[in-house]
């Protein structure tokens, strides 16, 4: 090769991922944005993850998507993608049914490219936010009970409770999981057990109960 055609290559870190269904991402971001204003997505060679708390530090979202979930995935170096969820949500709203979603970041440009690939190829480019590198620790909470149930059963129970009150009480017993709410407008009790089919498994070290605010739970079940 003649001397003058030698190209000098500078190495920038690069992240690129293609996801088959852009509308699924739209749903994910919709759900996350009910609690979170802005957060870092962390791209690693294994996949994409995000952990964030809502501004009043009552609720935490832990999100992970393995590289195998993507059609194509390339990440040569751990990369922080700080995103404003309101803006991100608005862009993803533009996804149509058959669109693929491509996310691309190159350190050179410091921007995240959001590309919808369908009949047309549409590329949005958004500036990233810079947060501290620090990742949130896992809260140290010991749980006395663990309950697995159909998400639909939980959703309906929360909606039932919202009719009556602003707070809800969860009760875990060896055989049955009970969701109660009471207030000025009356009382409601939702029993979820194996016989009914809503309960998948329940493991109770000791019968326990706790109260939760429906303004948080109501948002979280939308996820």
């Amino acid at each position: 090769m003649p001397e003058e055609f030698k190209i000098e290559v500078e190495v920038w870190s690069l992240f690129r991922a293609v996801f088959g269904d852009a509308r699924l991402w739209r749903k994910i971001i919709d759900a996350l944005s009910t609690l979170i204003d802005e957060a870092n997505f962390v791209a690693t060679s294994e996949g994409l993850r995000m952990r964030a708390m809502d501004p009043s530090r009552v609720a935490m979202v832990d999100f992970e998507m393995d590289r195998s979930a993507f059609n194509e995935y390339l990440c040569d170096q751990e990369t922080m993608l700080g995103v404003n969820f309101d803006d991100f949500k608005k862009i993803l709203k533009r996804a149509t049914a058959s669109d693929k979603l491509e996310l691309e970041y190159s350190e050179e440009e410091k921007r995240l490219k959001v590309r919808f690939i369908g009949r047309t190829t549409r590329t949005f480019s958004i500036p990233l936010l810079e947060f501290g590198q620090e990742e949130l620790a896992t809260p140290r909470i010991t749980f006395n009970a663990s309950v697995k149930m159909l998400s639909e059963s939980l959703k309906e129970a929360i909606k039932d409770a919202e009719v009556i009150s602003d707070f809800v009480r969860f009760e875990a017993n060896p055989e049955v999981f009970i969701i109660r709410a009471s207030g000025d407008r009356g009382e409601v009790e939702v029993k979820i057990d194996m016989a009914g089919g809503g309960l998948l498994s329940i493991d109770v070290k000791e019968p326990s109960f706790a109260y939760y605010s429906l303004s948080y739970l109501g948002e979280m079940i939308k996820a």
Binding site: P55, S56, S213
Partner: protein, 414 residues
């Protein structure tokens, strides 16, 4: 036909929504009859310095009745006072009714979208609304004016009204440069214009007037806005604007309780350490405007969390006004907090004077020395002492203080 009206329906409706199904609100009608207008205007001509003020009605929207308010005085300073609620604080309810009842409303009917291509009459009215100080105005009425008063929960009382035949603005309106620029800006959305004007120190009352007259916003969006909607819209927009900044401030470090009473409206505001949230509990005591003697207190409650969106279906202007004052105060002290605000209304507030009294009454609460507490229990006990309604009647409606007591945060576990 409904035989009996639910006594709390009136407190919900406040004479504006006709929830009882009647054509006219009997409470408002009774008030108007009792309090009649003192100064009778005879003839079909009126000359006065209009405190550049305009009232836009809401009935019949999008065809609304609107018209400038003209006081029977020519003295500029005095005239301005008639329409500036920011200066009325401290006046008695009688003084305010008397003041407002002498304002004559010169009405005509227009479609709200005519704001963009105004008729002569509307154009002159807009001109008048633009002025920062009263302008000499001459009004010819089609018929002698009817001596009658108009009351509303959001709007201040207004005196007699008559249908305008002709309106002349005798002198040039005075328009501040900033206002002129934004009124001439056909690309800035109304919300941006409102923020910029407020930042520039233009009074809220003046901004509301510009908005209601369809003088702000993108050209295609401009329309006349009924005054009661406009007042609340501006409360809401300015509140949202400051809230954006408040969210970045550190959390308040102590529990504070502020109280103030004005016109038998009693305000108690509890500030709790935490991220921003606001709750209003409005208690109408028996024999106050909307609640009959012998009935229980009527309680309205609503709240919002960090996102600044109210949670209950039923909101009215009072909520947005109280929220604005709370956010304004947080912005001043550069802190965010959970704000629990109670407004208790007694029987001596026998006629609704408009939402300005809420704004001013609560603002003055923050000017007083707060009481400090070391625990929420003590604060709630003191609050219970200050509120006339029995504790368990209002406490069951409260949300934020309970949340403050019960809600643990993840940071405790990290």
């Amino acid at each position: 036909m409904p035989a009996k009206i639910n006594p709390h329906l009136c407190a919900q409706c406040k004479g504006a929504r006709r929830l009882c199904g009647r054509a006219k609100c009997p409470i408002i009608e009774r008030l108007a009859a009792q309090l009649g207008v003192t100064e009778k205007i005879t003839g079909t001509q009126l000359f006065g310095a209009s405190p550049p003020s305009v009232l836009v009605g809401e009935h019949g929207y999008p065809k609304v009745r609107l018209g400038p308010l003209v006081p029977p005085v020519e003295d500029k300073k005095l005239a301005a006072y008639y329409d500036n609620p920011e200066q009325w604080y401290g006046k008695s309810i009688e003084e305010i009714i008397k003041l407002r009842s002498s304002l004559v409303r010169a009405n005509f009917t227009v479609g709200v979208k005519e704001a963009r291509r105004a008729s002569k009459l509307l154009e002159r009215t807009q001109e008048l609304a633009l002025s920062s100080i009263p302008v000499d105005t001459e009004v010819h009425f089609a018929k002698p004016v009817k001596p009658r008063l108009l009351f509303d929960g959001v709007i201040s009382p207004v005196g007699p009204s008559g249908v305008v035949k002709n309106l002349t603005v005798v002198e040039n309106p005075v328009v501040p440069r900033r206002v002129d620029a934004l009124v001439g800006d056909y690309d800035a959305p109304a919300v941006v214009a409102v923020r910029e004007l407020y930042e520039a120190g233009v009074s809220q009352h003046y901004i509301t007037r510009l908005l209601t007259m369809g003088l702000l916003g993108r050209k295609i969006d401009r329309r006349l806005v009924p005054t009661r909607w406009g007042i609340t819209a501006v409360d809401s927009m300015i509140g949202d604007y400051f809230l954006e900044k408040v969210r970045d401030f550190p959390e308040l470090g102590e529990i504070l309780l502020y109280s103030n009473s004005y016109l038998d409206n009693h305000y108690h505001v509890l500030l709790l350490p935490g991220s921003y949230a606001f709750e209003m509990v409005e208690i109408w005591l028996p024999r106050s405007v909307w609640v009959k003697e012998g009935a229980k207190s009527y309680i309205v409650e609503n709240f919002e969390l960090y996102d600044g969106k109210w949670q209950r279906a039923d909101v009215d202007g009072g909520y947005k006004a109280m929220r604005l004052v709370a956010i304004e105060f947080l912005h001043k002290i550069k802190r965010q907090a959970m704000v629990f605000a109670i407004r208790e209304i007694g029987p001596r507030y026998y006629a609704p004077l408009g939402v300005w009294n809420v704004r001013e009454g609560m603002r003055h609460a923050f000017e007083k020395e707060p009481t400090r507490f070391s625990s929420i229990e003590e604060a709630v006990a003191e609050l219970a002492r200050r509120i006339k309604t029995p504790f368990n009647q209002w406490w069951k409606h409260a949300y934020l203080p309970k949340m403050f007591k019960m809600q643990r945060r993840l940071v405790e576990f990290m």
